[in-house]
């Protein structure tokens, strides 16, 4: 659905996007992660024809989005991180206006408006003036606006920013529904835990460069090549610690009240052997589990690692 090749954007001497390459297949929900100023918004604006790139190519469904921006805009729905609304328009008129831009007939526009208001749960606000809506409602309305022409690719720049926790959950639900409708979605956010639940794949961008990209699980494995195992024991923690320290693939241990965190440089076979060794030595093991790294750790690790160079 989306292919980006060698994309570069400079503001004077500052390089906002540096030779970026990206490939988002059909139906994916791609999480675009990065610290502030990493180049997420710039990349998204270039995709949507709102900014010129210095060099590079962007293809949306095989349409050259740089040379044929107008054609590409027909299949892209964009929601910016900051946006305003028209003071004197009602909610249904607001959506009707944007639908009219796409030459949709009035009857069809009414049906689309009704459907979208239902999707974003604003049906009861249809006759209300847009500027009287709460921030969360405006965000949902803006999402509905980006859908009026039934785009195949949705580009959402921090769609949940500034929302309270309830509104965030509602937004997440809407995005899940859109995923069900088969839309390809690119979503940027700094709330990584939300992205990890929602996205099928992520890309981490730092200082204009894509540092890592792929399925969430693959990235976890790539970053955490060494496993972390947590072993809880009923008692005899000293004996358990001795067994572990003597085990060849254990590289570090960290003892808590009734558990030990083990840095482990081995495969699944080795993990089985370690557990068997503990049982053979009559250590009362309660749990033996591999700890999952979370996306926040991955993000910090990847972006900090880069900084050290």
């Amino acid at each position: 659905m989306l292919k980006i090749k060698n994309l570069t954007k400079k503001y004077g001497k500052f390089t906002a996007v540096d030779d970026l390459a990206l490939n988002v297949p059909d139906g994916e929900i791609f999480g675009f992660v990065g610290p502030n100023g990493a180049g997420k918004t710039t990349t998204m604006k270039i995709i949507c024809g709102l900014m010129a790139a210095n060099s590079g190519e962007v293809y949306v469904d095989d349409i050259d989005a740089i040379k044929k921006a107008r054609e590409a805009k027909e299949i892209i729905g964009y929601m910016p991180d900051f946006f305003g609304v028209y003071d004197d328009l009602k909610v249904n008129e607001y959506l009707d206006f944007y639908a009219s831009i796409y030459n949709i007939k009035p009857k069809e526009r009414k049906r689309i408006t009704d459907d979208l208001l239902e999707l974003v749960d604003l049906t009861d606000k249809r006759e209300v003036y847009v500027d009287s809506l709460s921030r969360g409602m405006k965000q949902r309305l803006c999402l509905a606006r980006s859908l009026v022409h039934n785009p195949r690719l949705l580009v959402l720049d921090e769609p949940a920013s500034g929302m309270d926790p309830r509104a965030r959950v509602e937004m997440k639900e809407i995005l899940r529904s859109l995923k069900g409708l088969g839309k390809t979605i690119i979503i940027s956010s700094h709330i990584l835990s939300e992205l990890s639940e929602l996205c099928t794949s992520i890309g981490i961008i730092d200082r204009g460069k894509l540092v890592i990209e792929g399925k969430v699980s693959d990235i976890m494995q790539q970053v955490y090549s060494k496993k972390l195992i947590k072993v809880r024991v009923k008692d005899r923690i000293e004996d358990a610690l001795r067994v572990m320290q003597e085990f060849p693939t254990v590289i570090s241990t960290n003892t808590g009240e009734n558990y030990i965190e083990v840095g482990f440089d081995g495969g699944d076979e080795d993990m089985t052997l370690l557990l068997r060794e503990l049982i053979n030595k009559d250590i009362p093991v309660i749990t033996f589990s591999q700890m999952d790294g979370n996306l926040e750790d991955v993000f910090m690790k990847v972006t900090n690692g880069d900084e050290e160079h």
């Binding site: 604006k45 010129a52 790139a53 210095n54 060099s55 910016p80 009219s100 606006r145």
Partner: protein
């Protein structure tokens, strides 16, 4: 037929609330006061007993001058916030990311403002009709004058849109728009006088070329053609005579052609300015990149 969506939306927004009604009220109020003032002055002439066409011509000119002044103030005010306002409200990107071209956004904005001006002009017809009571003025003359007002409104509106596209703040766009219009009104006269003084030509016959850009010239030329006769001179370089270019074409027509050309140029430049894919710096770079 598809109506420009921006025009449609703007008309809906602009006609909502009290502002549109207040604008029409104030506009007609000024014109009515002018008509009343002229009538009172005319009635003080005790020797005038019969219906006098000269009175209607006087009223017509008085109302036309007032309308000309009002349009000069209102037309730019309606457009100076057209693009900068969208920027300030953070709604411009939402328009630019749709399939609408920058030019159609600009045209939609301009025509929304022009519709308001046309509404004001049409609403003023009943006040103007007072002159028909006394004769001496034909419908053709009124329509000719109103046509001139519409074109001049488009020019002033285009000046407003141009500065609105180039400046982020509506205040800056406002100041520069009125500055430019003031230049067309008075700056061109001032420069003409300076040039003629410098070259020592105090008897310049006809119209100095720079003054064809002056809306006052266009306006007064229409009135001169409708009611004047022979030659009329205001000052060197501003004389209505049947010499030079004016033997073939009326000064107000030359002024209108200038206005139309200026409007087209300003609208074209405005649409280029708001086109995000035509950033000057990046455009050059991309050309170089593509050439590789």
């Amino acid at each position: 037929m598809n109506i420009n969506p921006v025009l449609q939306k703007e008309l809906k927004i602009r006609m909502r609330g009290w502002r549109a009604a207040a604008t029409i009220g104030v506009y007609l109020g000024f014109l009515t006061l002018t008509a009343y003032f002229i009538t009172v002055v005319a009635r003080q002439d005790f020797y005038r007993t019969a219906i006098d066409p000269e009175f209607s011509i006087g009223s017509y000119i008085g109302l036309a001058v007032m309308q000309f002044v009002l349009i000069s103030f209102i037309a730019p005010a309606l457009t100076t916030g057209a693009i900068s306002g969208e920027r300030e409200k953070q709604t411009l990107d939402l328009l630019l990311c749709t399939r609408m071209t920058p030019l159609s956004i600009i045209i939609g904005k301009l025509f929304a403002s022009m519709s308001q001006i046309i509404l004001l002009i049409i609403a003023s017809l009943p006040v103007f009709s007072i002159v028909f009571l006394f004769g001496g003025i034909s419908i053709k003359e009124v329509l000719q004058l109103f046509g001139f007002f519409i074109i001049i409104s488009i020019t002033f509106g285009s000046i407003g849109i141009f500065f609105s596209s180039y400046f982020k703040k509506t205040t800056a766009a406002n100041v520069l728009s009125y500055g430019t219009i003031a230049f067309l009104y008075f700056g061109t006269i001032f420069i003409t006088v300076i040039i003629l003084m410098a070259i020592g030509d105090s008897n310049y016959n006809g119209i100095f070329p720079l003054l064809y850009a002056n809306p006052i010239l266009g306006f007064s030329s229409i009135l001169w053609e409708q009611f004047g006769s022979g030659s009329m001179g205001f000052f060197p370089g501003f004389n209505f005579t049947q010499t030079g270019l004016n033997k073939f074409v009326s000064p107000w027509i030359v002024n209108l052609i200038f206005n139309i050309a200026l409007s087209m140029l300003l609208l074209f430049l405005s649409s280029r300015k708001i086109n995000p894919l035509l950033e000057k710096h990046n455009g050059r770079k991309r050309k170089r990149h593509n050439a590789k």
